[in-house]
């Protein structure tokens, strides 16, 4: 934002809305909102470059305050960046053009847990883990276990269209949400229909799910709950060949069994990652599969899964490694087990149908390993969110010694991402499965949507004619 005077005028107007304690312009405070979990801004700063800072940090306490802030931003033509836990990996909350970071974490009231209908309504700033703990007290669970659970908010779950470890049974965040309240870019607060299943036209809810703050600010969410299952168990198998593992997953899903998790590691991941983190040292394709529910149902489900896996010559490794995986499922995301700078890396995951998934895997592996052999690019993959019609591939590139020059490093990063994403699209896949788009992938959105992209842009232009909502994200044209 240019000009000290206008900055101070906006600051006083913000104080008028939320109070002095809820507006910050301190340099150190603003620095902490310059990053999320996306590598590039971190790498940029790591090489001594100044990050993009917001001008104001604002902590609204209710929807009314959000409305007033958004109206103010419209009046002054200032960017507004909704912020939950800041755990996204795509740069979705990075304030590329400064402006107001709207930290929603003070909107952290659980409005109602409906034990009859098994739903919960909560403000957008409630932490995922806090919500889970509160539901657990009543014998209920959201059953949404993303790796970001200890930091993310439920508004973020919906805005980024995330996925949790047990999504194969319980669905992604988009499957769990029933309705939302959102503040539109003009400051008007609206609610979607109270239930997601209806015949009242196309439905507004899907418009906001995955919108990453570009079409409005999600302020309240109603989500589905489940009873805490009586029993949950996991078992591990080792397939000599990845194809057999994929086929086992396909048969499990197309027979309409309901495992809570299937996680199949490719041979490279099996060899490296599992030995490093879990102490399992085996070649092949390692699969963890789980079921939950009442004891009889789990026993039956696991028996049928076992039959399928063994029919494809899987070695049954028993329950212990499966349970170990469940217990340590988040360890991968804690340092030092996670990838870290100066490594250059990216999760280039995609989703496609069963008939194309293996070809997609081979093509992307080739694209990265051969296309970037000069950089000794490594490729690892696992398959972890399974649908009745297909599966997500969670694959990563890793370059251990990237260029030191930040411009070269960013160029290399973008080049790999571009190639990997185009490879996914060419094989019937999507740019992304559950991390979102942010500014990392925004530039590829027109290619993903093709002739339909202008429709998306028109929606954005109609809702946000001034372009103040989270500019630079999701590929929308910047005003």
């Amino acid at each position: 934002m240019k000009g000290d005077l206008i900055r101070d005028i906006v600051r006083t107007e913000l104080i008028d809305i939320v109070g002095r304690d809820n507006v910050s312009v301190q340099h150190a405070e603003r620095m902490t909102y310059a990053f999320d979990y996306y590598l590039v801004p971190q790498m940029w700063a790591d090489r001594g470059r100044k990050p993009s800072l917001p001008d104001f940090i604002v902590h609204p306490k209710n929807t009314g305050e959000v409305s007033r802030i958004v109206r103010l931003a419209n009046r002054h033509n200032i960017p507004v960046i909704p912020y939950g836990g800041g755990t996204g990996t795509q740069g979705g909350t990075v304030p590329l053009f400064g402006g107001i970071v709207l930290d929603l974490k003070k909107m952290n009231r659980i409005v109602r847990i409906d034990e009859e209908s098994l739903t919960v309504t909560a403000e957008a700033g409630v932490h995922g883990q806090t919500l889970e703990w509160e539901c657990n007290k009543l014998g209920l669970t959201l059953a949404h276990y993303p790796a970001s659970q200890f930091g993310a908010t439920i508004g973020g779950y919906i805005a980024a269209r995330g996925s949790g470890t047990l999504s194969t049974k319980y669905g992604k965040a988009e499957d769990m949400v029933l309705s939302i309240e959102a503040v539109l870019p003009n400051g008007e607060a609206v609610r979607t229909l109270p239930v997601p299943n209806h015949a009242c036209g196309p439905g507004l809810l899907p418009l906001f799910v995955g919108s990453e703050g570009t079409l409005g600010v999600i302020t309240e969410v109603t989500m589905r709950l489940d009873p805490i299952p009586q029993e949950r168990c996991f078992r591990a198998y080792l397939f000599s060949d990845l194809r057999n593992g994929l086929e086992a997953g396909r048969r499990i899903m197309t027979k309409r069994l309901r495992p809570c998790a299937i996680r199949l590691y490719d041979p490279n991941s099996t060899h490296r990652l599992l030995r490093h983190v879990l102490g399992v040292s085996r070649d092949g394709a390692y699969m963890v599969v789980g079921a939950d529910g009442d004891a009889d149902g789990v026993e039956r489900e696991m028996r049928l899964i076992d039959d399928i896996c063994k029919s494809l010559e899987a070695e049954d490794l028993g329950r212990e490694p499966g349970e170990h995986w469940w217990k340590h499922r988040y360890d991968f995301y804690f340092p030092p087990f996670t990838l870290k700078l100066p490594q250059l890396f990216g999760t280039v995951e995609s989703t496609t149908t069963f008939d194309r998934i293996y070809e997609l895997y081979l093509a992307k592996k080739k694209c990265i390993e051969e296309g970037y052999s000069d950089w000794s690019a490594d490729y690892i993959a696992h398959f972890s969110h399974w649908f009745p019609w297909g599966v997500m591939i969670y694959d990563r590139f890793i370059i251990n010694k990237p260029p030191q020059d930040p411009h070269e490093a960013i160029e290399l990063h973008a080049s790999i991402w571009g190639d990997a994403a185009r490879c996914s699209i060419a094989h019937g896949g999507t740019l992304n499965d559950h991390h979102g788009i942010g500014f990392k992938l925004g530039w590829l959105m027109p290619e993903q949507y093709g002739a339909a992209w202008p429709v998306m842009q028109m929606i954005k232009d109609q809702l946000d004619p001034a372009g103040i909502m989270n500019p630079g994200k999701l590929g929308f044209r910047r005003k």
Binding site: G48, D103, F150, F334, P335, L341
Partner: protein, 371 residues
Amino acid sequence: MFLNEIERVETIAACRFCPMCNIADGVAQLTCRESNSPRGRGAILFALEQGLLQWDECVAEIMFRTINDGLLREWCVGRYDHEELVIDARSRLVRNGLAPEEVRRYLDAARRETGAESLPATLRSAGVRIDPAAECVLYAGRFVAREALDAFIAAGRLFNCAGIPFNVLDSEPDSGFDFYMLGDFQGAREASVRLSEALRRAGCKTLVTLDSTCFRMITTRTERFGGDLSGIAVRYYTSDLADWLRQGLIVVPQRVDARVTYHDPSSLCRYADEMEEPRRALRAFAADVVEMRAHGRLASTDGADGMLAILDPDLARQLAARRLGQARETGARILVTPCPRSAAMLKSAGHDDLPQVACLVEFAAAATKHS
């Protein structure tokens, strides 16, 4: 000082990128600010290292508004010591005269103190027998000597009741924990040396502490600050209490009927692994002891940690109130904690609602009064 340079740099690198322990940071949860989260502090320290930010009063406010209860290290799979990183940052701020005014005033006052003079007289006037020849020294610590003398008297009575002779230092020096936690390493060094010399002069072979922070300081930091504790065993009083109960030196006529829950002070559960003995002792006094959801090594803070109350007493009280709320969920009528400092903090947040807060030493002394 307690992180070497490699550990310090690695901890900053780990924390600046990682949101995995945000949920475990009580201050981050209450203030809802990124700058009060472990990742936010990591980002700030990283930016300071990179020259992207200057050490200033805002940085100082952030680094002193932390609870530093050890839960972050406990939560972290990689065991990065974020709390020690914060203490390191505080020490830089103190050295450069950038600590917040409240902290400077507190440190100045603490430096001027010469030690607790009246402890032996206090005990004697309460009818507690002290044996100046005893090799066991009961240590109050600065907080107990100033704010929780009832607990100290209760401890003395339990010693008497068990028939264990003990001594009290004539002019009891501070352990230096507050200096250490606030980043005044010079103050901590001087206190550590003073205390160890006083213990030697008194012929101490066993030191029994009442304040959990003193126990943590003396067992983990005093020698590293230059105090010589060779030949002195340091114990937390709950170990002795549990021993006396086991040996029948203390008899409990009747256990308390009401449901009781137990709060683990962070200095015991996360820095001393002292979790079983206090529970064993408590079970001797109360029939119905239940656990809170967050207990043991993952217990939530009582608000007394990190010297947070100096800069932000209201926030510290909110953390204590949060812990009381967790105790309330168990249906307990009494919340017992062994550390007088923790008990005082929890009491400060309590209203007329249940549970009542009790310090284990007073709880025990009251229960054995007629034995």
